[in-house]
């Protein structure tokens, strides 16, 4: 019985560690579709970026460099395919409505919707998702890492204080 309990705990931990690969799931599903541009930057590539000398990274943007050093996953899907747009938007809505991520910002205007979701562990943001959809375009940006809110706010314009 004890062994079964240990096995169940180990299994649930494994499942939960893989359950976060939402970005990968979306990327794999839509990246090969027509009129869809997709970008994936792997943890290994982030390690390579972090080894670049800061001067070569456009050293003037120190905040961005610091933020990039905190990232270990990047997925971008930009679709101009109407059927993909509808499916992508509804899938993201379904996934994000389960409450596992916090809605940080929502703006709507004449068919345009922008939503930003984040997931945090204490003061550290581990996931950042931006879903921007308009009539002919749908964009999803998915970031994974250990981001400090200050770093992110400095880059995207100090959202919390506006």
């Amino acid at each position: 019985m004890k062994k079964l309990v240990v096995l169940a705990i180990a299994l649930s931990l494994t499942v939960s560690s893989f359950a976060d690969s939402l970005g990968r799931k979306i990327y794999n599903r839509y990246s090969d579709e027509k009129d869809v541009s997709a970008v994936y930057i792997s943890p290994s590539m982030f390690k390579m970026i972090n080894r670049l000398p800061e001067m070569d990274m456009g050293g003037q943007n120190v905040e961005l460099t610091g933020l990039i050093k905190s990232l270990d996953g990047f997925y971008l899907i930009d679709s101009r395919n109407s059927s993909v747009n509808a499916s992508l938007k509804s899938e993201m809505d379904n996934i994000l409505s389960d409450g596992s991520m916090e809605l940080m910002l929502e703006a709507k205007e004449e068919g345009e919707t922008v939503r930003i979701y984040t997931k945090s562990q204490g003061e550290t943001m581990t996931h950042f998702v931006l879903v921007a959809s308009e009539k002919e375009e749908c964009t999803v940006v998915y970031l994974e890492g250990q981001l400090s809110r200050e770093q992110l706010n400095a880059i995207i314009g100090d959202m919390n204080h506006q």
Binding site: K3, L4, L7, L11, T14, V15, F18, S21, R24, K25, Y27, N28, S31, A38, V39, Y40, I41, S42, S44, M45, M48, I49, R51, L52, D56, M57, G58, N61, L64, L67, I68, L71, F74, L76, L105, E106, A107, K108, E109, V114, I116, L130, A132, T139, V141, I155, I156, G157, M159, Q162
Partner: protein, 110 residues
């Protein structure tokens, strides 16, 4: 009464003769006892097979479930860029896009 040394000094033939001449009394119910012991042992073996079957099946089912789960996981995509400078440029562009989208959204919400 023979001593141990005497017995040890006896030849095999002498020992055999002694054994043949002795009357061995078989305790009453020995045969029945042996039979019932054999039956009990058989039952125990059956029970232990049954007891092992459940954990074995559970382990097998868990292993199959794990296999199905890991096979159904989304596979690792291929990196879009081979050059870290290009990847960095893409990140810069994306953060600029995020920043402008957030600015625009905040203006809308005001």
């Amino acid at each position: 009464m023979k001593r141990i040394e005497d017995i040890e000094n006896l030849s095999f033939d002498a020992l055999e003769k002694m054994a043949d001449s002795c009357e061995v009394s078989v305790p009453a119910g020995l045969e029945e006892g042996i039979r019932s012991a054999i039956i009990v042992k058989g039952e125990c073996r059956k029970r232990s097979v049954k007891a092992l079957l459940f954990p074995a099946l559970t382990t097998l089912a868990t292993a199959i479930a794990c296999l199905i789960f890991f096979l159904s996981l989304p596979s690792e995509p291929e990196d879009t860029f081979n050059d870290p400078y290009q990847a960095y440029a893409q990140l810069e562009k994306t953060f600029s896009y995020i920043s402008s989208t957030v600015d625009k959204s905040l203006k809308l919400t005001k």
